[in-house]
Symmetry: C3
Subunit: 262 residues, 3 copies
């Protein structure tokens, strides 16, 4: 089944509307193209609702917030809710500043998101768990990632994915644990942001949000491993990674990489 | 003669002022550097006119419009008109939202552009032909691309380039058809945007706008083919493509790739 | 000792806050990750001070100024001064428009910077020396780069680095000359901008600003040479360059590449 999601993306070429940060916009667009989705970036308040109406998923990423971003994201999010369009929220560095915490809180109050994808420090911030994060890095804390995913999913009534050495995905009932991935991903900017966009593409073709998110994450981790085997360093890793994402429909990802952990 | 345009660019290193979108700014700058032009990106209303005055071409790309962009583009465009500096307009995704249509209409009302470069869906929107575009993709419609190029060129009194499986360029009198290119180009974000910037570089050194645009497009398509022969996937295609653009002065592009089609 | 700075960066993973331009944000982030630093980009006025407070260095780059940027940079800069956080200023294309000159002048009036890094044309503009720059390129002028570095360092009471065929670094007393580097760097957008960010990372772990800046520049030039030996063209140069930066801790950079020139 999971395999089919990647084929469906290539077949349907879902339009993924990204309101994202300026650091990763190019990499996110190329990553979406690599899996066969069709990226569009638009963040003017005048057009975001209209763009969302024609899109198959909306990705909200707060990596480089501007003063306008909050209004823009809420308007796009509400348009998506109205249209039944799935939404992924990526709360980049939400623990770093009170501005980011406030914006994310207001987005989550006004918009029903389908999935949230972040590192442990970001998800911990969302549910008020103390965490020694710094900037946009994950950091360390006293709560297990699987617990963070479960609690956040319950709190916000959506799927929550916590990425790290092991990835955890929860819908508030079960927690799925995904093994794999590579340390190289932490050496390339925007690998988390692109993953959130890829979750959006999977949600665009698969209504079961837990299944869509787990598929996105296991395929992504697997692509990272293939790429890291070929990469000499952080310079060429993204190149091999995009090539691996492009080949996702041709691989059967071993199912023993995913386990129900609760 | 066409060959000479690439040599002239390398010799003159024309300054190309880009008011472009945040997704492709880096790729556009590197592509312009690859052919020997000198890119500059500046979009603050306070400085665009002054920047345009010292530039050899201006490229207006509406990929990620902001509330300020319209005023900025019009001011830069009027400065370019005053200075006799050629202008390329890239109406990215103009069919996707009414905001984009309105902004492009107002730009075209206040600024005389030298060339417009878009896909079939975008050019169809400009001349009011029904088109099933979606987001920033080309889509399908009931009008031949060669007709779109011709009609749009007549309407706006400038050169119009329609990119697709075959590229069409018209000055309102003749239509030139350019064969070649590669499907890989559709898998890398910003290949259309960079092409518009390359058209700008050709216009900077060649006054005949039809010749400049045809040269840009045939050299670009040829570079794409060379790159696709070497690329393993969409990840490394842009790398080979920039290398191929860098070599453009050393190739003789077969003339049978270009034909007058009207 | 210089060698140790690269090891310290990898050990401490200093958080480098970049307020930078949209063209090079991705490349700067990946370059900082390559040397083991942790990049963060944030430019909303609401959060820059808070972000700077948790950062180990602040990099101000005026490549694509917006109307908000001046206020944002001054607020972040004053927060950095208060926190004792080192600041690098990159006055990209400052000679191109009066807006850039005014903004840089006001930043330098309100913020004490630790180092300024620019090409000869940019540094000449800062100290009022006539210079035939154009856009963001270096251009030519009647003053020796070593003199520019020395004068600017005296004028602003900070370390000034002038990059070019030979790099010059001065603290207002001595001028250090760094040999090496590669022409390929001028064919990739943002190599100057990333260097400024790398200077920031070195300042974050080494209090002696002259030593930190000289280390940054010599390691950077050396990485460029290693990369240019492996690159086929401007397309793959940045890939090899990031890989070379990643290996910096493993190389001993020949000391005869650096000489005191005054």
């Amino acid at each position: 089944m999971r395999h089919e999601i990647w084929s469906e993306i290539r077949k349907q070429a879902p339009l993924i509307h990204n309101i994202t940060n300026t650091v990763v916009a190019n990499f996110s667009a190329n990553g979406l193209l690599a899996i066969g989705a069709s990226p569009v970036m638009a963040d003017a308040i005048e057009e975001v609702a209209e763009m969302t109406f024609i899109s198959d998923a909306l990705v909200l990423n707060i990596g480089t917030l501007s003063t306008m971003t909050e209004a823009t994201m809420i308007r796009a999010g509400q348009a998506a809710n109205e249209a039944g369009c799935p939404i992924v929220l990526d709360p980049v560095g939400v623990g770093a500043t009170s501005f980011r915490r406030d914006v994310v809180e207001r987005i989550l109050r006004h918009v029903r998101v389908t999935a949230i994808r972040g590192n442990a420090g970001e998800i911990a911030t969302l549910i008020g768990v103390d965490w020694a994060a710094r900037g946009v890095d994950a950091g360390d804390g006293a709560c297990e990632p699987r617990q963070l995913a479960l609690e956040a999913a319950k709190r916000y009534g959506c799927v929550v994915a916590v990425t790290g050495k092991e990835d955890m995905v929860s819908d508030g009932n079960v927690v799925m644990e995904i093994h794999g991935g590579t340390k190289r991903m932490t050496e390339t900017t925007g690998t988390g942001c692109l993953l959130s966009a890829v979750v959006g593409a999977c949600l665009a073709v698969e209504k079961n949000a837990l299944k869509a998110t787990v598929t996105a994450m296991s395929g992504y981790a697997y692509s990272g491993e293939l790429a890291s085997e070929r990469a000499e360093g952080p310079g060429d890793f993204p190149i091999h990674f995009l090539n691996a994402l492009h080949q996702l429909t041709q691989h059967t990802i071993p199912t023993n990489r995913i386990e129900v952990s609760t």
